[in-house]
């Protein structure tokens, strides 16, 4: 551990603007490599009991089992992944396609705010997971029930942040567009939406995170396929290595989806680049 700290300090020293990104990559890689080494040492020396936490070999074996063959919990990792990502995207897009315009509208129009806010205030404090029983009663253990839970998880942050996005647009900018005589449609497309965009994306990131959380929780309750099912089955089987594989798969899924959103975000706001 001391060696690792030393390494971090060493490579961090004398960092200049140009290569700081590269340095961070190196440091990040070193941290992860160090953790894996520590994990390896701890499990071979018996510092961590193998029954509680898998060794790196056990982890690799479990990963191979679910990724290549024969699979786990009725499918290969790819099938589970595909199924989970499909539900995440369905829930995410169904919720934000309604949530973002609704939030923008509430931010822009006092009437809309007065109309919708009471309903929204009722929904808002309900944790997405509290919808699970109702979803099951209404839609069974189907994918539709999961999409419904994800919908609520993604809906709330997309509304709130789109709303605050509009409200946080500088007043003089709105006044400037009125002064220029900009028409209603152009005000929406050229002022309101771009002005709220940074906040909209904050909301989308929260929505995505909410979808991932809700998905795992919903799948833990029963699913044909999915990452949550892998975790659930591995738990029943008392199979720590597979639990870890499932967790890593969930983390990577979240990481990749968030990274994709980041790409969309920076593409949508070219003016924010340096």
């Amino acid at each position: 551990m001391r060696a690792l700290t030393f390494l971090l300090l060493e490579s961090g020293a004398g960092m200049t603007g140009a290569d700081s990104g590269k340095t961070r990559l190196v440091v990040g890689g070193a941290t992860i490599a160090g953790l894996i080494a520590a994990w390896y040492i701890a499990s071979t020396t018996g510092a961590i009991p193998k029954l509680d936490f898998p060794s790196p070999e056990q982890f690799v074996a479990a990963a191979r089992q679910v990724v290549v063959e024969p699979g786990f919990a009725d499918g290969l990792l790819f099938d589970h992944l595909l199924h989970s990502v499909k539900i995440i995207l369905l829930g995410f897009f169904a919720a934000t396609a309604i949530g973002v315009p609704l939030g923008l509208w509430m931010g822009w129009s006092r009437t809309a705010e007065a109309l919708i806010n009471p309903i929204f205030l009722l929904i808002r404090p309900i944790p997405a997971l509290a919808w699970i029983p109702l979803a099951i009663v209404w839609l069974g253990l189907d994918d539709a029930a999961k999409v419904m839970v994800l919908w609520f998880a993604a809906f709330v942050p997309s509304v709130i942040n789109s709303y605050t996005g509009v409200r946080s647009i500088d007043r003089p900018i709105i006044e400037a567009s009125r002064m220029l005589g900009i028409g209603r449609m152009a005000v929406i497309t050229d002022v309101i939406v771009p002005g709220a965009l940074p906040s909209i994306f904050t909301g989308l990131r929260l929505s995505l995170q909410g979808c991932l959380t809700a998905l795992v929780a919903a799948e833990l309750l029963g699913a044909i396929l999915g990452l949550g099912k892998v975790l659930y089955q591995a738990g029943l089987d008392i199979y720590p290595a597979m639990i870890l594989v499932g967790m890593v798969a969930v983390a990577l899924t979240g990481f990749v989806l968030t990274a994709l959103l980041d790409v969309v975000e920076s593409r949508s706001m070219p003016w924010r680049k340096r």
Binding site: D170, I173, E175, A176, M179, L180, G181, I182, A186, W271
Partner: protein, 265 residues
């Protein structure tokens, strides 16, 4: 005809205990193609007056007319240069200047010429594709002015447009504004708290007082400017050295100093 007429304009903000009179029966006129500078301590209601002419604020009593019509909304016939620039951060320099022309449905070919002309006028060549945050404060201010000029407005309302600039840029911008005004005279309401700037640029200077906001005095600069041939001097510092300039400046300074009420502190 595009004159600005404030007639007995009062504006009260707040209610109950917090109620206060920001403007108290203010009347003044900016004649067609006249350049009027408004000076006064901060909080005396300069911006509020300008916002009334812009249609962004309304009198509690009295009337504000532009070109003989009561102002009831903002519009591109009264271009505003906001103190905080108020550029659209997501639009390039070119798009910022173009935005107003699009809503005016100016034919594209004509719009292109007008944009090019105002970009040239403000010395923004080469920055057409830049976003506001990539520009210095001075350059952003030029964009804000270009955006107003390109509308070819009858009335130009400028709220401390050079307030955020460094002294050098400020001088360049003042000379530029005077030059542009000679080529293309407009009705201008120009708010500032820099007395020298007011005397240098304006045909008339209105001095306001605070609590409540009232007009203290109006000083005619134009007759002096013409009599003493200020326009023969190319540079601002040469004009500022003239005795006639110093005399007017000192007079306005006194008017402002007089209202430094010790009871305020």
């Amino acid at each position: 005809m595009a004159d600005i007429v404030l007639d007995g304009v009062s504006r009260v903000f707040g209610h109950g205990d917090k109620r206060f009179v920001a403007l108290d029966k203010v009347s003044y006129t900016v004649a067609d193609n006249e350049f009027v500078a408004v000076v006064g301590p901060s909080g005396c209601g300069k911006t509020t007056c300008m916002r009334m002419a812009a249609g962004l604020e309304f009198p509690t009593s009295g009337t504000c007319k532009v070109g003989g019509k009561i102002v009831d909304r903002p519009g591109p016939d009264r271009a505003v240069v906001f103190q905080q620039f108020a550029l659209f951060p997501w639009k390039t320099v070119q798009q910022n200047i173009d935005f107003g022309l699009r809503s005016l449905n100016v034919p594209r070919s004509e719009a292109g010429d007008r944009i090019a002309a105002s970009i040239k006028l403000m010395g923004l060549e080469g920055y057409e594709a830049a976003y506001p945050h990539q520009l210095s404060g001075g350059m952003q201010q030029r964009v804000a002015i270009a955006r107003a000029y390109v509308l070819n407005p009858q009335v130009l309302l400028m709220d401390e447009p050079f307030g955020a600039l460094d002294a050098q840029t400020r001088t360049v911008m003042q000379e530029e504004l005077l030059r542009v005004g000679r080529i293309n005279p407009r009705t201008v309401m120009f708010i500032t708290h820099a007395v020298e700037e007011a005397v240098y640029l304006a045909d008339r200077v209105i001095v306001m007082t605070r609590r409540p906001g009232r007009i203290k005095e109006t000083i005619d600069v134009k007759p002096v400017r013409l009599a003493e041939k200020w326009d023969n001097y190319e540079r601002i510092e040469d004009v500022m050295d003239l005795e006639s300039f110093v005399h007017l400046r000192t007079r306005i300074w006194r008017l402002l100093r007089e209202q430094h009420d010790p009871a305020d502190h």
